[in-house]
Symmetry: C2
Subunit: 439 residues, 2 copies
């Protein structure tokens, strides 16, 4: 190996994440050139760390033999996820010329929807045959690739999962004994169609390092490792954050502009509708605004505080729902708490705001009465709006969840609608009641 290659290899092996980031900073042409000559082992290490979004176009740019070589060397789960990101015609062609068993395994993996146990599992899993002796089991373990070993799963002739053996028990048993008495048959499995978030939940509950995945007939088809769960959990939390603000869950920091616009624009347009609804509320009070322009100046202050209060409550409740801390039995307690916090914060903010507005109006040359009137109006509006916002931030995701909808996807829209409309209606409504005071 040339010294440069050996250096590159050390970089990739010691700092795979940094190396893959450096790779992602290259142009597509440079990437293709690099991967044409890079030793397969380094290339494969690198490809496992890079987002399949970035790998797929590069693979399509390589010549056929090279891309075949790389795909065969990748773990099937990674190869499958790269392939799903290539164009369909390319994928069909390539699958034709891959070795029979790999292409079969890739076709099977491609059938699993992206958010199921089947799609997150590692399909290469070593298993022991249930009629092995301890000695035969030891030999089989020696032959298996290290990364395929997690727990020692035992299957019968049809590939049906029979149980699991503890490495320590095997270590302590006599070589000639059959392994049957060592098999623990009570074990947690998940079906290949189980949603990934339920798989992660199971892992968290049971604290297993790995869970075997079985198909409809009980055959062992793969294993989900804790490192896979780590990835899913981290992604899920950030997906949630993006969905709340209406950027699609798939969007990444360097996604192409076309995709970014497609992911964000629909949400902006829906929000535009709610903004117009809020504007209609203001429109109903156009008359009094024309009389007291100071009202217009204060509108964003009322709406802003309502929006902030609602988002705080929403973020905390969304976390509680995601981690299943919020359950039917604690709903009433949660709502009471949020309402109480909303009222207390509302009173505090109202006092500060009222003092500020009163001072401002005096400086602007209003009478004491008019200043006091406007301070009173905004103070009362603030309390009503912030209490309503805190309540809505808690109740809206609970209702969406109860209706079987994803609260992350739409809670923010409903919340903005409520806080804007309540805020403007309360502020301008109180103002119109107090018009004799403030004009």
């Amino acid at each position: 190996m040339k010294p440069l290659e050996s250096l590159l290899r050390s970089f990739v092996e010691l700092h795979p994440d940094e190396a893959s980031r450096a790779f992602e900073a290259l142009d597509l042409d440079e990437r293709i050139r690099l991967f044409t000559t890079l030793p397969t082992r380094i290339a494969v290490t690198l490809m496992q760390r890079i987002s399949p979004h970035a790998v797929a176009p590069m693979v399509m740019g390589l010549d056929r033999d090279r891309s075949k070589e790389l795909l065969c060397a990748l773990p099937p789960r990674i190869a499958s996820s790269v392939l799903t990101h290539t164009e369909e015609s390319y994928r069909t062609d390539l699958l034709e010329c891959l070795p029979e068993n790999l292409s079969r395994s890739l076709r099977a993996l491609a059938k699993y929807p992206g958010d199921t146990a089947g799609a997150m599992m590692e399909p290469r899993v070593a298993s022991l045959s249930s009629d092995f002796t301890v000695q035969q089991a030891t030999t089989a373990i020696r032959k298996a690739p290290r990364e395929a070993l997690h727990y020692l799963y035992v299957t019968n002739r049809d590939g049906i999962l029979a149980g699991v053996i503890n490495m320590r028990d095997l270590l302590l048993a006599a070589p000639k004994d059959p392994i049957t008495p060592l098999i623990k048959t009570e074990l947690l499995t998940v079906p290949d169609t189980m949603p990934s978030k339920d798989v992660v939940q199971k892992m968290r509950e049971k604290r297993f390092l790995a869970i075997p995945v079985v198909d409809y007939d009980g055959r062992l088809v793969g294993v989900v490792k804790q490192s896979d769960a780590l990835r899913v959990v981290q992604d899920a939390a950030f997906d949630n954050m993006q969905k709340i603000v209406g950027a699609g869950a798939d969007e990444r920091a360097l996604s192409p502009v076309r995709l970014v616009v497609k992911s964000r624009l629909p949400w902006l347009l829906v929000n535009l509708v709610t903004a117009f609804m809020a504007a209609a509320v203001i429109g109903a009070f156009e008359g009094i605004i024309a009389q007291v322009a100071a009202l217009a100046v204060l509108l964003p202050v009322v709406a802003g505080q309502g929006g902030n209060t609602g988002s705080q409550s929403l973020a905390v409740v969304m976390r509680g729902l995601a981690l299943r801390e919020v359950i039917p039995g604690t709903t009433r307690q949660l709502i009471t708490k949020e309402l109480a916090a909303g009222v207390i914060n509302g009173v505090a903010v109202a006092i500060v705001t009222a003092i500020a507005v009163f001072s401002w109006r005096l400086v602007a040359g209003d009478s004491m009465t008019a200043g006091f009137g406007l301070a009173l109006v905004i103070g009362m509006a603030m309390i009503v709006n912030m209490a309503a916002a805190a309540l809505a931030g808690a109740v809206i995701p609970l209702i969406l969840q109860a209706c079987g909808r994803d609260p992350a996807q739409s809670a923010a829209i409903f919340l903005t609608t409520v806080t804007d409309i309540v805020g403007f209606a309360a502020f301008l409504g109180f103002a119109s009641l107090c018009m004799p005071l403030i004009t």
Copy 2:
């Protein structure tokens, strides 16, 4: 065991998370009564799943002997985290009457700041002595409690970590051989003072199931497991989300109201200041608003769309920073992308808004010219505001990060300030330029 206890035990063992949620729905008195009589093993299983916030008051309510018994049976890391949530006087008293070695270990754990490897590690870790034979090692493994075994760490006489042995290699070696040749001395360790987020990053990069933690002298003091990392990662992502909206990272769905107010109010007050700054911008245009009240009606529409666009950009960039996808080399590309997306979305939203505003003004009885003027003003303002918002959403967290500040903590405040001020200034500025058209 009575049938009821046996039923309860099955519930706790098979569905620990559900059981702990059912527990959390009980009153403090009921909890104390339950834990006074519950068999220790079930109680301990349950205590490990419940937030230390909820366990601590209950422990303080139990009688001294019972709480001693439970704390001794808990894994030290959990016991330590429960104790840190009790009152100081209670803690000092209790530590006095615990067994000497446990209280020493708890005192040591309590010294680690909450966000370090020391605080997230499991301190009970079994290790093999470097002068063992394979046979002696096997015996030692048999004696060690199962949960203390992850990798087979080897230490020398002073407790200094010498290396690690693969269970498979041990399984395949002759019983009388020394274990020395099997020891892999190159292994990744982390110091007990390393920040937890760096530990998690290392785990993700290297894909280890566990990493040994060493003290300043290289002594093995504990081990961080992947399940610990899972917890830290999930919490970190949600902490981020809460920090962005100004609810403290520590807040949970059922935190007491006092804590909720303390965690959220400061942020609301800071935001109030920025809201007043935005109001001051509107105030500067009070004259033209008094002439054209329709401007006041449209103010929240402009601000709302700017805010939304900025939050989308912020969420995606924050994710990129947290997962280290955004690095100095890709900054320019990121900023260009966000600006382009902002302009494109801005134009799209501007067209829809302009058409809606034009129709509204005609229905309201304005002239064609006035309607067209207002549509033009809001359209131009929307493009400027949304482009600025998208840019700010990307640039603000990058600047905060570069200054060594936590972008989650304060990015949203700066962002709102920018989008409100730019939005109002652009909208009312264009309006005052076009006054001849719109009046």
